[in-house]
Symmetry: C3
Subunit: 139 residues, 3 copies
């Protein structure tokens, strides 16, 4: 049993930018000495998130639209009254989605479905450089 | 420390079918040689999800209804324009809920509350055979 | 590699009470003999949840308000018809958020962002004593 951790930087282009991380994460798992275990993908920050989705042009817009229905930008947020940075909606969306994703792998292969990719979703209102933690635990 | 992984097939009866997995997962943990650790339950696929809930006839309808409020079937989805398979709402719901659940166990017993069951929720628009990964890490 | 588990009690003050657990969890990680790994925070119970958020007076109200938009208290719930305990909305919110959070740590330090705290959110309709499981796996 061992733990391997890697910190990566990703650069988002602005609000609702969805970035496919599958290849990078898959390569990190394959190149590790660990054959079976889980990888945890964690967003250090409170206005971004990770999940899985079929990464195609329709859904990468449909998914942020659903979050907007739940938490529109143009309603009142207590966060705004204090900080005036216009991203109250970003914070509540990120807390709902959660900052971490755990994916098992077997014989070095992520247990993803054929149409299932691992993505980062930028929820803040501008482009950001993001720090993600990739941590493998297994044997 | 060790890792034990099992892939299981489950058969859903259609959209919003919620299946109680608690007994199967509990038995898998008990029969393993691992006393303390976590089990990760992962859905390989982009239109199903896992969570915990009090599994009773009211909530197994209340919960899908909430998801329908957030992402109704009868609004426009970019996914539909490209794929015409009528399940854009299924995808966005699944990405919101996330594909994985992590549950700790102590002395072979899952740390669930009395009224807390582990469930799979079918979000696709038809019955499906689903591949779930159960992975135990512990000692 | 080792596993260390701790069960803690927390006391919520009522519906939507959000409690900052960061210091307690951080101390538990630092005092363990494990330098690198993940900590899983798990709510034993079906009407509470854990996530990360910037813990400040605005957001601790904004976030529950979003959940209320998705699942208001004053609509019909099947759960209510059977149990008459007035917390159908609490259950569906908790199942959406999920009961567990996984956070990696490196050299004994949680990989949280500067403005990112770990919180428990009470979703039930009254004050509760809650049982949370903290489980560290690593080396």
């Amino acid at each position: 049993m061992a733990v391997t951790t890697k910190s990566i930087k990703i650069h988002s282009k602005g609000e609702n930018d969805m970035i496919d991380l599958t290849e990078e994460i898959s390569n990190f798992v394959k190149k590790s000495d660990i054959s079976n275990g889980t990888i945890t993908v964690f967003v250090s920050g409170s206005t971004g998130s990770v999940t899985t989705i079929e990464y195609e042009p329709g859904l990468i817009k449909d998914f942020p639209k659903m979050l907007d229905r739940m938490s529109p930008r143009d309603i009142d947020y207590g966060h705004e009254q204090m900080w005036h940075d216009g991203n109250g909606h970003s914070h509540v969306k990120a807390s709902l989605m959660g900052p971490s994703l755990t994916v098992p792998f077997i014989d070095g292969e992520l247990c993803l479905g054929t149409w299932q990719q691992i993505v980062f979703l930028e929820l803040d209102t501008r482009n950001r450089t993001r720090n993600l933690i990739l941590q493998i635990i297994g044997e």
